[in-house]
Structure formats: C-alpha cells, structure tokens
Symmetry: C2
Subunit: 205 residues, 2 copies
Amino acid sequence: MTKKETIIESAIKLFSDKGFEGTSVRDIATHADVNVAMINYYFGSKDKLFESVVEYKASFLRGVFSELVNNKKLSPIEKIDFMIDQLIERKFSDAKFSHLLHRELSLELRPQLRDAISGILLKNIDPVKTIIKDGIKVGVFQPVDIELTLTTVIGTIHYLLTSDTICQKILGKKEGFSAFQNKHLKKRLSEHTKKLMRSHLLKNK
Amino acid sequence: MTKKETIIESAIKLFSDKGFEGTSVRDIATHADVNVAMINYYFGSKDKLFESVVEYKASFLRGVFSELVNNKKLSPIEKIDFMIDQLIERKFSDAKFSHLLHRELSLELRPQLRDAISGILLKNIDPVKTIIKDGIKVGVFQPVDIELTLTTVIGTIHYLLTSDTICQKILGKKEGFSAFQNKHLKKRLSEHTKKLMRSHLLKNK
DNA sequence: TTTTTTATTAAACATTTGTTTAGTTTTAAA
DNA sequence: TTTAAAACTAAACAAATGTTTAATAAAAAA
C-alpha cells in the first residue's frame, strides 16, 4: 500500500467514525503515521482529500445489479429477493461510511462532492427500476409506484442502521445491543423486507 | 420573545442549515443580533446550547398518537392511514431539523444528547406499535414484524427527504426540483405508503 | 436613594484549525 | 558521479474557534 493510500484509508476510518468536521488533518496524519504536510502535499487540501476518499470508494464499487436485469433464470420476485439481500449485506458491512455520505448530502456544504456521492449511493438504481418495470409489464407485478417502492427498500435498511440508539429504541432492545454486526437482525430484516415486497408487488399471493 | 429564546431560534435555524460543527457561535450571535458572550452567559457553552435547542423543540412536541390507540371510531387501518399522514406532514415541515438530529445520532459525539434526541425522533413509537398489535389481535391485520413495519414507514419518508439531490436522482427529476415544499410529492408519498401498508397488513384485500 | 443583582459589552485569551514554507533526505535520471 | 526531481520533515503562519474577563449599564431589591 502506498503512502497515499494509507492516508486515504485512515481518512475513511476517521471520517466514518467522527465525521468530516470532527476529524482534523492531524488526526489523520497520526493515524496514518505520516507527517501532516503530506496530506496537503498529496491531496492539496482537506476538502480535496474528501473528494479523493469518495472517488477511491467508488472505484471499489461495481454495479452488481446490471447483469441481473437480463438474467433469464430468475423470476422478477427472485430478482427482488436477491437485490434485498445484496443491499442489506452492503449496508451492514459499510454502515458508517454510508452514513458519512448521507450526512454530507443532507448538508451539501461541499457542492463539488454532490454528484460523486449520489453516484455511489444510488449506483444501482436504474437496473432495479427496470426489474420492477419488467415485472409489471410481464404481468407478475402489480402497477406500483416504482421509485417510491425503491425508496421503501433502501429507506427501511438505511433507517434501521442510523445508530445503535435508534435501533435499540425501535426494537425495544437493551442498551448493550449493537446492530451492525448482528446476524440475527440481518436475517430478520431480510425476511421482513422480502415479505413486504411480496405482498406489495405480487399479483397472485 | 426573550433574548434567550431568540438565541435558541437562531441556533435551530443555523444548526439545521449548516450543521452543528458548521455553525460558529458568532454566526448565531450575529443572526440573533446579540453579543457573542451572551451565548455563554445564558447557556454556558455551545454544547449546552445544543442541548437547550433539543429540549426546546421537545417541549413543542406533543404525542399525537397516544389518544389514537383507544379511538373507537376508527378501524385499525384507518388509524395507520392517519399516522402516515401525520408523519409525512411533520417530516415535510421540519425535515432539516430532523436531519440535524439524525446526523447527531449517527455520530454520537455528544452522548449526553443521545436520549433526548432519540426521545424526540421516536416519541410516538409505542402507541403505533400498540395500534398494529391490536389490529393483529382483532384479526384484521396479518402477523407482521411490528417493529420493522414501523421502520419501513419512517424509513421511507425519512430517506426520500435526505436531500434534494437524492430525491431528484431517485425520482428522475431535473436539477431544479425541490422536494421539501412539493405538495404533489407529499400526496404521492402518502398514497404509496398507505397502499404499501394495506397490502402488507390487511388480511382481506 | 442606595445597594445589589442581573444583563450587556468590547476586548482579550488560549487552542485548534488547515495550510505553507524552507530546508533536508531520498530516489531516479542524465 | 553529478544533477534534477520527488518525497519528506519540523516549524511557522494566519485565521477561526469557543470561552473568559473586566468593565459598564440596566433593573430590581433594600
């Protein structure tokens, strides 16, 4: 790993944990074990480092749903099931970074980051829309509000992982309960969302 | 309005627009047209001001759903409909502040704010749980995952209002589109969510 | 009215912030 | 081996931040 990458990885970790404004360049330098000046040497500024972080993450993100659209072996509802599990898996493994991006978007203090971030967050939106659209066209799905159906799936998963506090309060759990690495919760969420989508989408239940 | 309240109202406005870290006490003082020192005089610190802001908002929030539980005139699904419209109305009129609270919770840098914030965000959670539970007991609703059903409703509404950028990208709107005061979107969201809950909850559709 | 408490101010304070400089070491090219 | 570019460092810089101080004005209590 190059020194530049070390800085980016440290920034990802610290931005995710403490937020962009809550992390100083000295924090990052210490964590990456480099001189503070190296951050400006490589990236120009703290803002530009954030942009690099977003680009770096985006480069690791491949569109997993584009090939799903033309898959002939899976039925529309099976494709939806697959999508739900993929989204849950991704969110659970990277919840803190995801919320970093959402915090940034909800503020929009750095407009130059807007498109890159929304690109990451909604990379798979078009394929999924198509899957639902096709299901309706074929007559397997009811004529639903496609965009808002999508919002429901993403919103449910996202909201549950806002914070341990929210999760505990909604689920009525004790204070020690941690959502993010909880396999049982993952399964429960998967089952709920699939069931929800089945009754919402399918004509013959 | 007292000077103390003027400061709180300015803080609400600026924290909502620019975030807590993004707002300086001098910003607030200027906006409230008071001397900077008055903030520490009245509140002690910027952190404590944030706490006062949260308490202040909480005092204006009454539980609208508690009386709904024992309402005999409305059927369970009508109660759900009412709840959905109430939640949408509230979120649309106060989206930025709501996101301020969610940003704070997702970071948890100020633990002393945790309970007050989750209290505001999930004030109505127990009555709504009860409404669904009763609907199941009476036999009108299917046996669903109550807590996650709630998460779906709140999550859908919340996610759609994350930012104009997210909203535009999901709905496929042009760049000028603004979500927050859009009556058509409000109606569309209401219809989608109600429809979703009907097919998810009702036994006889 | 005098005294005491409360409210208000401008200025200073101490830190922290992101950034730059000027110099040094290391690496690579000529 | 000499030279030029890149990598790296410690220190300094300037601006912004939250907070406190010391003094004054206003209000309330005695």
